[in-house]
Symmetry: C2
Subunit: 285 residues, 2 copies
């Protein structure tokens, strides 16, 4: 990954990147990868959301969500050029959102009704761009994160699984068109669960009790039809495979070019070990 | 309710009615009401699904779901003219479905993939009609079951609640169009939960943990856009009000003319006692 054309004193490989870091290991992966490309990185970590290990050895600031004014001023001071949103964020509490004047002005404009769904993140992106920063997607920084078409491990879906996948795609896309969720679970033609704000893990957790005997179901995750790919692309990693297996599913299908696969090698290994298929599927847009 | 024009020896108020009885109190309510109209009733009770109190003092047979041939033969022997499906049925286990030859022929035709969703019930209705019975809806027998427009108790939705209702209607209708579910919960513009096979009670049970502080959410139940009103209309009663209150919701909206309200007086009393609105809403078809 490192750009070997860069030596000491070479121009940087790109403008300084600020990572607005949610939970999980994705922010640290991005930070490492981008620094490996010779770019400077600055992490904005959020109290109670970002894993403390994420910022180890990387320039950073800890902040509250409500401190938009302070954060944006700091990004200017740091000479940041590009900004990326990385990792999931649990819905912030009211205390975390306690707004500074900049945040208050922002909330007054977008309305607190938008808080918690994609509307909020889209508004955040606009706000950051209005301040002169360029907002990029994770897949712009690390192309290999983007899911490609085809099986990830040894197994592939059979004709029955393909039918369940098609049904789940239909349902998940319809929900996504309404900006509700990105996932659905279908078993033997029956929709066991659809995802709203609870998230994929919670949806999977209830599937074991809803499943019927016989062939297991499939989890499908697709991006919303009009989704900005810089925001909250469906993401899966080893944990998703493990939770799908625990729910009795036989496989997972995720949108090729429209979702992020964190650590493809580890996902393939987990899928093979647990006997699930994981497959990237093309979705006509 | 009793038809006072009928005396001993009068012609019956209608053909003998068979009630295919699911769980809850609805089958017994229907049986009492229809007998009060002077009609003969025969109940088909299903082992493990029908409340034993339902059949007390009413001609009946206990059966398995898989015994379609036996059931239909018995309905002919009893001189049944009309059939109604009443009360919810949990997904039958494989043992309960162990088919007689008639059921096997039926399953071979509709395909076991249809088991568990509306497709199965539609196929059951066709099968019963092909045998010469007329299948009617609960609202054909007991008109006051059908939800009418307007508040059921003292409270009515305010403008904020109306917005959440509109959003939930949009989501529930889209899911219904895909034959997935009939319900959604929205709070402050955010879709907290959408219903698939888990049912309304299970959906409500997860909402308390997903809700944000502040104004509570609303539950909306609507029929599927192309739903046969003789099958599985959305139904609510006192239990739904209680579970919605426990989930922190502020109200419930159900489709006027497209849902069943079991015991309107008791629902109004529960809604007033618990401080929720319950409202029948018109949905443009």
């Amino acid at each position: 990954m490192a750009d070997t054309t860069k030596g000491a004193g070479s121009p940087p490989a790109g403008p300084k990147l600020a990572i607005l870091a949610g939970g999980g290991t994705l922010p640290a992966r991005i930070a490492n990868a981008v620094r490996g490309q010779g770019r400077e990185v600055f992490i904005v970590a959020f109290d109670g959301h970002t894993d403390p290990e994420t910022v180890a050895g990387v320039p950073h600031v800890w902040s509250r969500f409500g401190a938009a004014g302070t954060i944006l001023r700091r990004l200017h001071e740091e000479g940041v050029g590009e900004v990326v949103l990385a990792g999931p964020v649990k819905r912030p509490s009211f205390t975390e959102l306690m707004p500074d004047w900049r945040t208050a002005r922002f909330l007054a404009r977008v309305g607190t009704r938008a808080l918690g769904d994609d509307g909020l993140l889209r508004a955040v992106v606009r706000e950051v761009e209005d301040d002169g920063f360029r907002v990029v997607g994770l897949h712009d920084l690390l192309k290999e994160l983007l899911t490609v078409a085809g099986p990830v491990g040894r197994l592939a879906p059979d004709a029955d699984a393909e039918r369940d996948i098609a049904r789940a795609v239909e349902v998940a896309r319809a929900l996504g068109a309404l900006d509700v969720g990105q996932g659905a679970v279908v078993q033997q033609g029956i929709v066991l669960a659809v995802e709203a704000i609870e998230g994929t893990d919670a949806m999977l957790a209830r599937c074991a009790a809803l499943a019927r005997p016989g062939t297991g179901g499939v989890l499908v995750k697709v991006k919303k039809p009009k989704q900005d790919r810089r925001i909250d692309l469906p993401t899966m990693g080893v944990t998703t495979v493990e939770k799908a297996a625990a729910a009795g599913l036989r496989g997972i299908a995720i949108e090729a070019g429209g979702s992020l696969l964190v650590d493809r090698t580890a996902v393939a290994e987990a899928a093979d070990r647990l006997g699930l298929f994981v497959v990237g599927i093309e979705i006509p847009q």
